[in-house]
Every structure is written in C-alpha cells, then in structure tokens.
Symmetry: C2
Subunit: 375 residues, 2 copies
C-alpha cells in the first residue's frame, strides 16, 4: 500500500478542488439503561432462516457473568468468548472467520460484538471477512473493502474508544497496526446501554476514557478540523471533563462517558487523531501495550504539543489516583526504538494533522526517539 | 388515529418495562463548503437505469439562481420548483406523486429535496408515497409506513428546522398538522454545504434559527430527556448562542448554525418539543403562519414556562433588531380560538413532555386561549 496515495484518500483531496468524505453513520442506535434487553427483538427480523445463526463475539470477562445468560440465543446461534488481554490481530480475525465458515453450511445471519474496543473491532473485521475473500491483512488500509459486510451489531461494555461509531477497525497485522477503514466497516446497529459499563475495573475505565479525551484533544488541535468534527469533538471533550474532573453521580457519569465516546468517535469524521495515537501505535506494535494505556503513557509527555490538554490530563490522573507504569521503554535496544519510530512515523496523516504539511522537519526520528525514551 | 395509543408509541413504553426507540440515523452525510458539487458523483451509483430519473424538488427561490444551473441533470431527470411560501400540505404531496407516476413509465431512481424545512419535508413525504399506496394523510401519525421509501437525498439551504436529520415530515392535512413519523422517513443521504445558506434573507435566517433554539430549550427542559438527547441538545443550544449572541465571522456563523440544526434535530431522538411547538401548530393550522415565525410568536410569551430561554430569546431579538408582527390573534372569533386550542391540545406528547403526566390540570383550554390572545 502506498502511503502517499493513502494520505490523499484520507484527506479526500483531488487535484484542484477539495472533496469531502461522504461519511457513513451508524444507521440505527438505541440508547438507554437496560436497552440491552431489546437485542432479541432487534435481531429477530434480521434472521435469514433457522440454519443461519447469529454469532456473538463476547469479551471473556463476561464468561460467568449475568450478561452471558441474557444473550437471546435461538436455533444454532453461538457465543464465542474472546480474551481482550491483547490488541486484536488480523490472524485472530482469519481464525474466527475460518472456524465459522467450517462449522456452518449457511452464512450467519449476522455478527454481534459485545465488549470494548478489541471486541468491537474484531466483530467489525469478522463481518467484513465473512463477505469478502482473502485475509484480514489484505484489507488494512483505506477503502480496500468492496463488498458490504455481513449485518453486524456493536454493543460497547466500556466507553471511550469510539469503535462503536467509527468507520475503522484497527488491527495488529504481520507488518503494521492499521485500520480496515471503509464505508462497510461501520456497524449496522448499535445498542448503547450504560448499565453494561458498571462492571469495568477502575484502571480500565480510566485508560479507555482517556482514549476519548486524548483523541478529542488531538482532533480539536489538528489542522484537518472543520465545523462538523469540531462540534462533536467539543461536546465529547466537555463530557470527559465532567466525568473525570467533576463529582457527578455514578449512573450519570456512565451515561455521559458513553455519549462522550459516541461523539468522540464521530468527531473523527473530518479530522484525525495526532501525536499520542501515532506514538501509541508504535508502543502497541513492539510491546503489545494496549491502546488506552499506550495513549496515556505517551500523552503525559506531550506538553509542548498539547499544553492545555496535558494540564487537564495531569489533573485527571491526580483526581483518580492513577499511577502510570514507569520505565516501559527503559530496557529497549536501538533496534527496538527504530521499529517503534518507523511504525509511528508511518502514520503520515496523523502527523500532518498534528503538525501541518511540514511535519517531517519538525518531528525527526531523533526527536521522536527522545520522547519514547521518557516513557 | 387514537391519541392515547399514539402517545404510548411515542414514548415507547410497554407494560412493566421501558423500551427505547431504535432511532434511525441518516446513514450518509457530507459536510463542507462547496460540497454541493459532489451531488452528481453521489447520485451516479444510485441511478437504476436511464429511464428512471432523479426528481429534484427545489425551493422556487432558486429558480433563476446559480444553484439551479448546478443541478447534475442526466437522462430524463426533472427539476420541480416549489414555493415554500406556505407550509407543506398532504394534498401537495399527493399531487406531486400523481404527476411523477403519470409522467414516467419507470419509478424514479430517487428524490432530491433542496431548500428549507418545507422542501425537505415534501421530498421525504413524496419518496414515501412513491413506494406506498394511498394518500399522504393516511400515513400521518406514528410508524404507519410499512414499506421503505424511495432513495431520498436532503440538501438544506437554510438552517434550523432539523428536518435534514429527523424521522418525521410534518404536513398540514385536511384534519390536522401532523408528522409522518417513521423509520423510513429519514433521509438516506444528506449534503450539508454551509455555502448554500448564503442567500437566506435575514428575517428567515432568524426565524428558522429560532426553530432550532426553541426546540433545544423545549427538549432540554422536558420530562422525556435522557443523556443521549441531552448531549445533542446542549451542543445545539451552545452553537445557537454563539451564532445569535456573539460576533463571529459570517462564514463561521453559517457553519455553526448548520451544525446546530443537525444536532438540534438529533436531540429529538429521545425527547420531544414542548409548549411553543404545540401552540405554533395551532397557529399554522388556522392562520397558515409559517413554523419558524409561529414558534417565535408563541415563545416570546412563555416566560413562566421557560424563563431562561425567553430571556436569551429577547436578547437575540434585540441584537438582530427583529420586530415580530403584533396583533396576529387580535381579530379572531371564539370559534377560531377553539380550533387553535383544540389543535394545540391534541399534541399530547408535547404537553406531557413540557408539563409532566398531569399536564391537563395545568394547561386548561382557558389558559391556553389567554396565551394565544397575547399574540
């Protein structure tokens, strides 16, 4: 995949005039405490026949949890529990798709992803690969998917990634961590039930919420921003501040963080993330650091680029008594740094958004390595 | 149509547990100055064949305007210019549908509505009636449309109504002013080009912008509100305040008002409008007062219900030197008042949202008439 070409597509710039992305929105959404119980009714008209199952991909955190008992199984529907300990991988997608194709004579009626960003991204990718030939890595990039995905439903159980509303599914492939970014990636249906986020462990809650906070800071301070993305980003940022800096009742806080994640995801429509995400991709690729935590590890050192944002971030860390791991990069070799720097600098659109078209003169490999060394 | 039944559907309350509306969002949106020029490329893959035209319903304000020359006509496509002087009517929808059915052997490829709320509502209704038997009035109400509408594209040229994003099309019928409120009403595609709103006359700009401002005040102060609708309503309200009370550059102001309208429309997903809209419906029904102006005429007298909102509204009137018509109801007969009161009180969900379940004890016909007499 040519990165130059990619950048053009990402910005949708054609020669001589600006064209704007025709952004796919989630066409159906339910919001409300307890709305998860409507899943059965929502799936019913989408069932092709009794031989075409719904496959539920669920975070294995819920394996012995009430939620697993509430899945509206019918006929030969199947639950596949999946660990979210690691970032989602292209080969994992291929394995799930192969298993489904082998087991069932009929193509499934649809895929339901239940969990955080990892599960939501896996479910998107599986639904694409069930309707498109080849392997997941073939589709990492911009608009490489040419056939609609299988009907897919996303149900977040933690808030912040925006995966429930975005047109991408970010996967760790053999060569890169990169999204399958296409019009067919977006969910056909989302259920936003804030009660499902009751069980989130506190550190996860914080890191994943910070994913939203950080991508709002990056998109609002980026050069790509326009009024559409700005309005979503500002609302998401405001909600993050309420959730992480004010003292609001827990139930209200869950509601607002779920909406922050939603609007934060939408704010990327005509913008991009920036330095923290680019560097975090490098950390994930080399060390398998999870995305939310990776963003936090990087963002704490970006005062010179996002002064206001980092100040707020420090207040949030303090208020919630979060201790970020230290010395994460202290034992790395020069080869390791080279790999991370290479992966991070490959995210050209993110750097251009953050630093403008002359970004290469600003962010040299040496400067980037020095930032990594602080982590 | 039974109003009780209607109310239940509107709130989606079933016995014993709350169910939440599965809200249809516009599945595709382009935002950007000059994005109107992408219309031809967007329609191309939706053309069924050369005999199946696109029908463009356009506000006749644009009849001798550059915009009319930029319509990407192909094959037997047709432009129908329509006056937006009056509120859209069910019989008008039926006439347009009959004309299209008579003229073409094939069903059109789709309908494109270009204009303000009137044109956007007409285009939605025409696209429904081209795929559903009977007449427009048969579908006024909740979820009475059972077959998908023809592919339809909405392009607003004035900001505020939220018609570009809502799941309703409000029509003046022989018996009532009421929406065709269904999952199939929502546009399949919207193009948000703020440059198209450059030509709006100042009073129209104000009245239509106030439609957005007023429905945000009504939904945010209503009893139906939840965190989803609240986050959209708050953002829309904030944008309205910036546009109508701050001094921002015109181009920026057009961008923000277009986004205010968009978010304002979305805020109705899990909420409702309130007293101003209910009373404005009465004014429209009896006197044909246009919706935006009608809302303003009513809202100025609603201090006791929306104190903060009316205070802001007064500041906006003053800042933009807007003189609202006076004595609109001064020559009405008792029969006239009875009709308006009857129409307004018929909007049960709006009253319940505004005043709670006991609204009938609060808003008596006498009290309502006294409010109308001030206008």
């Amino acid at each position: 995949m040519k990165t130059e070409d990619n950048l053009k597509k990402e910005k949708n710039i054609s020669i001589g005039k600006t064209t704007y992305r025709n952004f796919p929105m989630v066409p159906r959404v339910v919001f409300g405490k307890g709305s998860f119980s409507q899943l059965g009714d929502i799936l019913l008209p989408k069932r092709k026949n009794s031989e075409a199952p719904f496959i539920f991909l669920i975070d294995d955190f819920f394996e012995n949890h009430m939620l697993a008992l509430q899945i509206p199984l019918l006929f030969n529907d199947e639950i596949i529990f999946i660990s979210a300990e690691e970032e989602p991988k292209t080969e994992q997608v291929d394995a799930i798709v192969a298993r489904i194709n082998e087991k069932y004579d009929e193509k499934p009626s649809g895929i339901v992803g239940i969990g955080g960003g990892t599960l939501l991204d896996l479910a998107k990718a599986v639904s694409i690969l069930l309707n498109n030939k080849g392997t997941a890595k073939d589709y990492q990039g911009w608009d490489l998917v040419h056939k609609p995905a299988l009907y897919h439903v996303g149900i977040p159980t933690i808030s912040g990634t925006g995966a429930e509303v975005s047109r991408t599914t970010v996967l760790l492939g053999p060569e890169r961590k990169l999204g399958i970014n296409s019009d067919y990636t977006t969910y056909d249906q989302v259920i936003l039930d804030p009660d499902l986020t009751k069980t989130v462990p506190k550190d996860q809650w914080f890191y994943t919420g910070m994913d939203c906070f950080i991508h709002c800071i990056e998109s609002l301070n980026g050069t790509y921003i326009n009024a559409f993305s700005k309005s979503y980003g500002e609302k998401a940022l405001e909600l993050c501040k309420e959730v992480f800096l004010e003292d609001i009742p827990e139930s209200e806080s869950r509601d607002r963080l779920m909406m922050a994640s939603w609007h934060g995801g939408m704010s990327i429509a005509y913008s991009q993330v920036g330095i923290a995400h680019a560097m975090s991709y490098g950390l994930s690729y080399l060390l398998g650091v999870k995305h939310g935590l990776g963003n936090c590890l990087v963002f704490q050192h970006l005062q010179e680029f996002y002064p206001e944002g980092v100040k707020l971030f420090d207040q949030m860390l303090e208020k919630h008594n979060i201790q970020l791991p230290k010395g994460v990069c202290s034992n790395l070799t020069q080869d390791d740094f080279d790999i991370m720097v290479h992966v991070a600098l490959g995210m050209e659109a993110l750097w251009e958004n953050a630093l403008g078209p002359q970004w290469k003169t600003i962010m040299t490999p040496e400067r980037l390595q020095a930032l990594y060394e602080k982590i």
